[in-house]
């Protein structure tokens, strides 16, 4: 019984410490980030201290995975990071779901989708806006807190 009690205490203390560290990480100001994190997250330097704690935590997760990526992927991350931080939680959550679906597609389907995206981008903005208005689903809900 004593061993179980000690194990439970150790586990509880470990969990509390883990959550405390996560909270600390989420509340770091720009000046408290490491040099590596600053380098990755440099597009967000001006707005970092205005981000909410959970947004900072997500961005630090991105900085954590950044070294695992190819040079081309890293370049894309740098280009898209600022826009990503300004997207609504709903847009981000939707993008995550679609990205998972995209990753599950066969290679030829993914290439086809990339081509269609390029075709779509070549359309005039007025035409794209018209297509957005034709979409039957409701978008813009901002209550998904991710």
């Amino acid at each position: 019984m004593a061993r179980v009690f000690v194990a439970a205490i150790i586990l509880a203390v470990g969990l509390v410490c883990g959550f405390a560290r996560a909270e600390d990480a989420a509340s770091l100001s720009w000046s408290q980030l490491s040099e590596e994190q600053k380098k990755v997250l440099s597009p967000l330097a001006q707005e970092w201290d205005t981000l909410r704690p959970w947004q900072r935590e997500k961005m630090q997760d991105i900085a954590r995975d950044y070294p695992k990526m190819s040079a081309k992927q890293q370049e894309r991350v740098q280009e898209r990071l600022s826009k990503w931080s300004r997207m609504t939680p709903f847009e981000r959550e939707n993008a995550r779901k679609k990205y998972q679906q995209f990753q599950a597609m066969p290679a030829d389907k993914r290439e086809e989708l990339r081509k269609k995206w390029r075709d779509y981008q070549s359309l005039p903005e007025a035409k794209r806006e018209q297509l957005r208005q034709e979409h039957p689903e409701l978008y813009g809900t901002d209550d998904v807190d991710n």
Partner: protein, 135 residues
């Protein structure tokens, strides 16, 4: 005293005790009045002290004792409950940290993917895909 002993089982030890008690009773008649008064006072003090200790036990100690007795009687249940609690907490924590890992990695690689994030939620692109697949 003799009456109490007469109600107990008749063993060799009890027979000896009876003999001792009989002897003491016989000698009691020879005790002088001053000694009897001292013995009576000591008995009263002992009874008062015992009553006082009993009341203190009911007020405070008995609660702890009851709790201790309960734990003793359920000594096999408590470790099992603690083990289950620890496993539950570990499971929740594992899921929490695992989910964070998946989402974090997803965000990084999503940003680095071939398609930009806006391609995944652009309503117009969805419509464009639907219309082009019908053609």
């Amino acid at each position: 005293m003799n009456k109490e002993l007469n109600n107990t089982p008749n063993t060799a030890e009890q027979e000896t005790a009876k003999a001792v008690v009989r002897l003491l009773n016989e000698e009691t008649d020879n005790i002088n009045s001053a000694t009897l008064a001292k013995l009576a006072a000591a008995r009263r003090n002992a009874i008062a002290l015992a009553a006082e200790q009993a009341s203190v036990g009911v007020e405070g100690g008995s609660v702890l004792r009851m709790f201790g007795d309960y734990l003793h009687q359920h000594r096999f249940v408590a470790p099992a409950a603690m083990l289950c609690s620890a496993m539950l907490v570990a499971l929740i924590a594992t899921q929490q940290f695992t989910n964070q890992e998946v989402v974090g990695q997803g965000d990084a690689f999503l940003l680095g993917s071939d398609l930009p994030p806006e391609a995944y939620f652009d309503r117009g692109f969805d419509t464009w895909l639907a219309s082009s697949s019908q053609q």
